[in-house]
């Protein structure tokens, strides 16, 4: 950027002299070339990251201010679509950094060999985290969210939920990452008894949606008493809408976590810049942005702490998270169990 403005200044001085018009044109050419040589960091991420209300715009601005580079986002659906895109593109991907996979997908992602090792960043996750290829940038607990004015007594476990008349809407594990998270949550908490839990829950589940948006939409429209979302969802309503009627039910089994991670592609032409970006992602500036755009917990709590309102959220007694390898191994059988139990 500096090179560009100096050349600009230069050009303006020269343009004062009419005779040097030609030279000015030549210099303009050089200036635009200098601009083209500003390195570009291409970030492959999910849709909602780059949207007007996502963390993308602020993070782009923040990183560009210090990197002397141009950040370009490419978006591809959700977390699962992201991995499919990486696999489709293979070794000649133009992306340098991939932001938005979760730990249920990282084993699969690492197995492609397309990701390069990255330096670990300090984090404040409630569980130990180690992955050679990925760093966490935010995380949340899956939870059933309800409206306090409509549900007087929230269930405190899957068993209580199954015994109640409450109607819930969940996401399909075959097409959405929260849906997959729920299936792994039940599997992690109940192991071999998972199919029984699903069978008991069958009459509570009014429907299964393709993605989070449809499910959350149905819930806010009053079609269901509870929706599978995050413990941090009520924070949005509280902070952005001054609406304190939404709450997440705390389950005694513990809550499964979704840890969103970012990694660097081995094929990147800008490996140093990519490392710099990953480090920036866990900086206080970026983490503060993520909290109130993704409405998740920061991977590393910024110095100023969490925004006011987060202290009202339920704190799970136990944090559940399978290792990447366990999640990968459990995925297909757990989905099959879920499908069999709910298809009866």
């Amino acid at each position: 950027m500096h090179g560009f403005s100096i050349a600009d200044q230069f050009r303006r001085n020269l343009e004062k002299d009419m005779n040097t018009k030609l030279l000015a044109a030549g210099l303009a050419c050089i200036a635009s070339q200098a601009a083209a040589e500003t390195p570009t960091l291409t970030v492959l991420t999910y849709d909602s990251f780059t949207s007007e209300w996502g963390p993308g715009p602020a993070i782009e601005k923040g990183f560009e201010a210090s990197c002397g580079c141009d950040v370009k986002f490419i978006s591809a659906g959700d977390g699962a679509a992201l991995l499919a895109r990486v696999k489709l593109e293979g070794k000649d991907s133009k992306a340098d950094v991939v932001v938005g996979l979760d730990t249920n997908l990282t084993a699969d992602a690492s197995a492609t060999g397309l990701f390069a090792p990255v330096a670990a960043q300090p984090n404040s996750l409630p569980v130990p985290f180690s992955d050679a290829n990925f760093i966490p940038f935010d995380w949340g607990y899956f939870a059933f969210v309800y409206d306090k004015t409509k549900v007087a007594v929230a269930p405190t476990s899957f068993a209580e939920l199954a015994a109640s008349d409450l109607k819930v809407v969940i996401e399909d594990p075959r097409s959405s990452t929260p849906g997959l998270g729920l299936v792994l949550w039940v599997k992690d908490a109940y192991g071999d008894k998972a199919p029984q839990i699903w069978a008991d829950l069958a009459d509570n589940i009014i429907t299964v949606t393709p993605g989070w948006s449809e499910a959350y939409g149905m819930f806010t429209e009053g079609q269901a008493d509870m929706v599978l979302s995050y413990t941090t969802s009520p924070a949005y309503h509280l902070i952005a809408e001054q609406d304190d009627t939404k709450a997440a039910a705390a389950f005694t089994e513990g809550h499964y976590m979704q840890v969103e991670v970012a990694g660097k592609l081995a094929s990147s032409q800008q490996p140093a810049l990519a490392d710099q970006f990953l480090a920036y992602l866990t900086s206080d500036a970026a983490q503060s942005v993520l909290i109130t755009t993704n409405w998740m917990y920061p991977a590393k709590t910024p110095a100023e702490g969490l925004p006011k309102g987060f202290e009202t959220l339920v704190q799970p007694a136990k944090s559940l998270l399978m290792t990447a390898a366990d999640a990968e191994a459990a995925r297909a059988p757990a989905i099959a169990e879920w499908q069999a139990a709910l298809s009866k």
Binding site: D47, S48, T50, S51, E52, W53, G54, K72, F73, I74, S75, A76, G77, A80, A81, L83, A84, K87, L88, E89, K94, K167, D172, R174, S175, L180, A202, I205, I206, T207, V208, T209, P210, W212, S213, E214, Y216, G217, M218, T220, E221, G222, Q223, A224, S233, Y236, H237, A240, T293, W295, A336, W338, Q339, L342, S343
Partner: protein, 514 residues
């Protein structure tokens, strides 16, 4: 003659291009596969897909008969408006429509409140009946409009003759209307069946659980989550074969009507009195209530958020309108060429090619194109042109199906005359073909434009930095918990889609009446 047998007509050329596009993209996906195998659950998905599509198509086409007949023979204030508004559900984006349906038929909706007053238990919309309900909501208007075109295509002179002969309505039905239904219904049933085969979000959202999984969901799962390209390609092949069988069966069952040509004048159709009148009133009122209730819900939900809409919505509207109009024009031109071509030829190849896109999974098509363009160009830089191409291709079957019966009729009625006059192609197009086909062409182009507005499937694969179309924009709003703004943006989406549809449809009628 021998030399012309090897010449390729424009219609045949287009058929080859479309078949190459659809089958080629699937082949591209297959080429990347490591192995081919279907999951056991896929067979269950196939069964459910056929069940829900068959039921939905049967209910939609049967219910359309009394509604279209009543609309054809009754004259009442706002009739024209009602007929145009009939298209509105069909052009709604799926998620918006499902939310509208839930407001009316779901928990706390007027239906369940009414049942509660009568002391009856609440009825859940979730299940096979909910899926059929939603599919009928989408497709009843299409079936009604197609049948209405059929009724209007019966030369008014025939009705006048029947009346002067003093034929009772039942005899009129047997001699004039039944042959028309016999000619139209198989095609209409087939189109709706094909539309419902590819449904994914409706079945999943209203089906109540994984037993309501369709083939399209299995494709989604295999492409997105499992990256099992072989399974995706196999599933796409199953969908294509189903489509081919259904299209060929429908073509076999479709008979020419052969009423002979009329003067193309419109006249007041016979309007029998007494109980028949009451039946017609009930048919029209029930259809209007069923179709406009959920629509009204979408409007009511959308209005409060309108004031707070972010500025980003307008560029998204513009982008979507450009995509929709260009796709609609492309699809119309292609459909006109292919329908007139299919009417001339005895073979079914053109018809099959034109119907093929209905069986194409948008996701397979998008993934195939992605793999195809990527070696040469950054996919995100061609997001909009690809979307236009895909939308034009995917909406071609609707246009084609609307044009084909009338193109055949035109050929039967005027083919020999224009041939004996030796009219040049352009003159024939201007004075014979376009005036006769203007009505379905305008309507079809309107549908195509509106469907392209609502399309989301493909752009998401290609979208880069900031090039969101309106449906994607709505998705972003929901993703950011901004549900009220999302409802308002959906309302704008619906309004703009419908305005586009209206404009094309008006243009067609204007041209036909001129």
């Amino acid at each position: 003659m021998a030399s012309s047998a090897f010449k390729i007509s424009p219609a045949q050329g287009l058929s080859i291009v479309i078949a190459a596009l659809i089958l080629g993209s699937a082949a591209m996906v297959a080429a990347w596969a490591d192995g081919f195998a279907l999951a056991p659950a896929d067979w269950q998905a196939l069964r459910f897909t056929l069940l829900q599509a068959g039921l939905s198509a049967a209910v939609s086409s049967l219910l359309a008969i009394p509604v279209a007949r009543a609309l054809f023979r009754r004259r009442f204030p706002l009739r024209g408006l009602l007929i145009r508004l009939l298209a509105a559900p069909f052009v709604l984006p799926v998620v918006v429509a499902v939310m509208g349906l839930l407001t009316v038929f779901g928990r706390g909706g007027p239906i369940n409140v009414g049942l509660g007053w009568l002391g009856l238990p609440e009825v859940s919309i979730f299940g096979l009946h909910g899926v059929v309900l939603a599919n009928v909501f989408f497709n009843l208007p299409l079936a009604t409009r197609m049948l209405l075109h059929g009724w209007q295509a019966i030369p008014s002179e025939r009705f006048r003759l029947a009346q002067s002969l003093g034929l009772p309505p039942s005899t009129q039905f047997r001699h004039l209307e039944a042959p028309m239904l016999r000619a139209q219904l198989p095609g209409i049933f087939a189109v709706i069946l094909l539309i419902c085969l590819a449904s994914f979000a409706i079945a999943l959202m209203l089906g109540g659980g994984p037993k309501a999984s369709t083939l399209e969901l299995a494709i989604y799962q295999s492409l997105r989550f499992e990256f099992d390209l072989g399974r995706a390609a196999l599933l796409a092949a199953v969908q294509f074969s189903l489509c081919a069988v259904i299209t060929l069966l429908a073509a076999k069952l479709t008979l020419p009507q052969g009423f002979g040509a009329g003067l193309g004048r419109s006249m007041d159709s016979p309007a029998p009195k007494s109980w028949r009148r009451l039946c017609d009133v009930v048919a029209i009122a029930a259809a209007a209530l069923f179709l406009f209730g959920p629509l009204l819900a979408v409007v009511i939900k959308g209005v409060p958020g309108l004031a707070a809409l972010p500025n980003g919505v307008w560029p998204a509207v513009l982008r979507s309108v450009v995509v929709a109009v260009v796709s609609a024009l492309l699809a119309s031109a292609a459909a006109l060429i292919m329908a007139t071509g299919a009417a001339r030829n005895k073979g079914k190849a053109i018809e099959l090619a034109a119907m093929l896109p209905l069986a194409a999974s948008a996701l397979v098509l998008g993934t195939g194109l992605f793999l195809l363009v990527r070696p040469w160009i950054a996919p995100e830089s061609v997001a909009l042109p690809i979307t236009v191409l895909v939308n034009a291709t995917l909406t071609l079957p609707y246009l084609f199906r609307l044009l084909l019966p009338e193109a055949r009729q035109l050929r039967a009625d005027y083919g020999r005359l224009t041939a004996s006059l030796g009219l040049p192609r352009r003159t024939r197009l201007r004075f014979v073909t376009l005036p006769r086909l203007a009505r379905p062409l305008g309507y079809g182009a309107g549908l195509a434009a509106a469907l392209s507005m609502g399309d989301l499937g493909v752009i998401a694969l290609f979208a880069g930095d900031g090039g969101a179309t309106l449906p994607l924009f709505v998705q972003h709003l929901i993703g950011a918990y901004r549900l009220q703004q999302a409802a308002a943006a959906s309302l704008i989406l619906v309004a703009v889609s419908f305005a586009l549809f209206w404009a094309f449809d008006r243009l067609g009628s204007y041209y036909a009446d001129a």
